[in-house]
């Protein structure tokens, strides 16, 4: 054990003397801090934007109150009044922004048909979302493996190339001990940094201190161990430094870029999503067709769904709000199957990723991070569902005014339902992912051990 610590001590001295490694480590540390800063500012900005929506709603209400001082038909309000369905970020979202920049985090709603409003997008700069987020998850998933590669690619080969390996081995210590001590030193350094950055991010982002603290830290540790395992395997091949560097970068490229890109293609082919365009075309056709159909026909269809309003009087004249909102709702009903199909398609795509991420540890880890932060596709789908329910509750709120033909007064705004949704973590995905991650780590170390036994150590 004493020899082990001596080796570690000399590794430290070596490391301190190597300017290149020192710069690499410091760069990674700064990248991590920038990632934390970026993630928290981005989430703060989203929170501010969400808070500003309340102001917009209030302004809209004030405007309508001024426009209709004595109240008016609720139909006018339903048409001109806008409110928002909002997807608040989870406190963990700043660590892993996931798809929160691509998918809108609020939806502007009126009482009109939902399906023409649900998919409107936020102002997004396509170049920015294409380049992706520089958040802590990116630093951990992409850059930490590169740091590990930089620290470990010549772990054994450098001793050979400098001719110091025979000297080392002439001492009463074995090769496994040398590699073990070298790896341990690097692990302490990398894990220390990864855990430090994670803790800083948690404190800075003021995350809710629940089970996820333990989950996040274990994922970080296991993921780093996985890459040390890769380094261990490559070192076991006993090749020169150049070969090791190329091989490890090749593995990194394969796992973080090529396999994910191929999986993406596979999923797009396996689970195509043609529903979106079909849905958007069909809902318009049905809603606008409502103007041309006999009013009785529309109302009968609507009353079949809402028998509680059946007794209302026959509609006279060219236009009535309750008829207008009835055919708007029938537009939603007509595409309900397609809308459900669309959401199920999105879920199916996500599930495919969860099944296939055994092929790439980084994809698995990113999936876990996003699931923990509630920033993945399923939480967006939950938000869509929540917004749909909110629209239902808005309709329920306005229907009594519309069908009983009660004047909507300025006192009635306060009773209008408001929406709030906070994406919640998906622990099932986290558990499954952790399990897979642990297995990958075991596998890679087992292979390394096996190779060290099989391949004879050469000192040259």
């Amino acid at each position: 054990m004493k020899k082990f610590w001596i080796l570690i001590k000399f590794e430290w001295l070596n490391f301190r003397a190597d300017k290149g490694l020192l710069i690499l480590t410091i760069l990674t540390l700064f990248a991590g801090l920038y990632g934390i800063y970026y993630g928290t500012t981005e989430i703060n900005r989203q929170q501010e934007n969400i808070a500003a929506l309340d102001v917009l709603t209030e302004q809209n209400i004030e405007e309508l109150k001024a426009k209709y001082p004595n109240g008016t038909d609720a139909g006018d309000i339903g048409y001109y009044h806008t409110t928002f369905a909002v997807n608040h970020p989870d406190s963990w979202a700043s660590l892993s922004l996931g798809q929160r920049d691509v998918n809108p985090y609020y939806i502007k709603l009126r009482l009109l048909n939902l399906q023409s409003q649900l998919y409107d997008t936020e102002n997004i700069n396509p170049l920015k979302v294409l380049s992706g987020n520089f958040d802590l998850a990116f630093v951990l998933v992409y850059l930490f493996p590169l740091l590990i590669i930089g620290l470990c690619f010549n772990i054994l080969s450098v001793e050979k190339e400098q001719g110091t390996l025979p000297l080392l081995l002439s001492q009463p210590i074995g090769l496994p001990l040398i590699v073990g001590a070298k790896l341990t030193f690097r692990m302490m350094l990398v894990l220390g940094m990864a855990l430090l950055l994670s803790v800083v991010a948690m404190v800075w982002g003021q995350v809710s201190p629940d089970m996820r603290v333990a989950f996040w830290l274990s994922v970080v540790v296991l993921y780093c161990l996985f890459w040390f395992g890769v380094a261990f395997v490559v070192a076991a091949l006993q090749k020169n430094s150049a070969f090791n560097a190329i091989t490890m970068l090749g593995v990194w490229l394969l796992l973080t870029i090529i396999i994910p890109a191929l999986l993406n293609v596979y999923i797009a082919v396996k689970q195509p999503m043609p529903q979106a365009l079909e849905l958007t075309i069909k809902q318009r056709e049905v809603v606008h067709g409502g103007w041309d159909k006999p009013k009785r026909e529309t109302m009968d269809k609507f009353f079949a769904l809402y028998p509680q309003w059946t007794d209302t009087t026959e509609i006279q004249g060219r236009f009535a709000w309750r008829w207008y909102y009835a055919f708007h709702h029938l537009g939603d009903v007509a595409v309900a199957d397609l809308a459900l199909d669309y959401q199920e398609g999105l879920q199916a795509r996500h599930q495919l990723v969860e099944q296939l991420n055994v092929w790439s540890v980084p994809v698995n880890v990113q999936t876990i991070f996003n699931a923990m932060a509630g920033s993945d596709l399923p939480s967006y789908v939950s938000f869509l569902q929540s917004a749909t329910q909110y629209h239902d509750s808005l309709r329920e709120f306005y229907y009594p005014f519309l069908f009983n033909q009660v004047n909507f007064t300025n006192a009635d705004y306060v009773n209008e339902p408001r929406h709030s949704f906070t994406s919640s973590p998906d622990f099932a995905t986290v558990h499954a992912g952790l399990y897979k991650l642990a297995l990958s780590v075991l596998l890679v170390f087992a292979v390394g051990m096996l190779l060290f036994r099989r391949i004879k150590a050469s000192v040259k």
């Binding site: 990248a31 609020y106 365009l277």
Partner: protein
Amino acid sequence: MIKSIAKKEFISTLRDRRFMALSIIVLLLLLAATVVGLHSYNTLQAERDAAQQTVNDQFANSEDRHPHRMAHYGSYAFRPKSSISFLDFGMDSYTGASVFMEAHKQNSANFSQAQQSSSLIRFGEMTVAFVLQMLIPLLIIFLCFGAFTQEKETGTLKILLSQGVSLRQVAWAKVAGYSKVVALVVAPAMLLASALLFGKGGFDLSGDVLVRLLLFIGSYLVYFFIFIVLSVVVSALHQRSSTALVMLLGIWILCCVIIPKASANLGATLYTTPTKAQMDADVHEEVAKGIDGHGSGQDERTEALKQELFKKYKVSSIEKLPVNFDGIRMAAGEEHSTQVYQEHFDELTDIFRKQNRISEYASFLNPYLAVRHLSMGMAGADFDHYVHFQNEAEQYRYNLAQGLNNIQTTRLKYGDKETRLSSDTWKEFQPFVYETPQAGWALTNHIVSFIALFMWLALVSLVGMQLIDKTKIA
């Protein structure tokens, strides 16, 4: 002498089995990316073509309706994929595919591919451009890192120099040899891509697509050459192969992974994007200051418009006007609201352009960004093509709404909300057709990247080679 050095590099590389294996993998990926890109292109294009055809037919065959009803019914613009975008998806997966075009309102482009994908898509997409931008440079690094260091380590460099050639000549000879090797890997894929493109377009392929393809291929050839020279220079500046390699890999990571993301993120941090909700609220406020097309309120501006018409036609009441005042008021309202929307849209794109400028200028630090922007531009999958499409859709929307307002003005009486014009009326309108702008237009949008790429070429060829002269041969 120089020719024989080049030949030696070429032949010895072909004999290197490890390099051959890597080249074959890259070539296979390149071919796979071509096929995959074409498949995805065909699927999306078919989807959008079918959708566009459907909405065009629906519009032309609509029931008898009041023209303003028709203006609210509106139409859709589905963004067609540019024909060589199967080589580089660029931003296409992150931009909306469908725009609803209706009266009074400019809508967002919805349903991007990224919104319909899990976070997996953020790891990147398998396209020809991805292989060319990221993997080929890596292959080049692997090919060239030992160019000089190996000769130094084995002591052959001194022998070589004793033959009377200069270091610079040796370097250029090596560059020539390696260029040939890279051409061998890249050419089959480029040829296949061109063949597929021509096969797709038939013989009536427009000259413009050809220009785009040539510029696309040309910028990649310059890019590869930059990496070859850079790698040879770095190799000459180092004594040991492993340090040269680590240096080159570090450059690759910085250029291809870190800087692109950091510069895009920095841009977004520096220039704040306004939310759509805030923008809509601002538009609403400004539009309310103009004429209300539906004319529920009696405001001064409507009154002024009325008086103007009375003067023009020398009448004293709306009923006596030879034109329908409803339609005229609607047209005035549309003109005003469209102007307000366009101002805000331009403001927004301006903010995005400022954000993107950081990435564009970062091309001077990073040839990868230069070629990425140029490539997206030539493939018709960059920001400017996206904005161009949105503007075309907006133009069509405005003309459609005003065309229908004009019909209301000339064919319906004032106050008539009941009359339904025959379905044939809608056939008077041409359907939305989107034409991709010219290659020259695309190139002028990327003039910064273009200059940056050639600056890099000059930098590595002149300054890099000068550095070689000064290296010590131990």
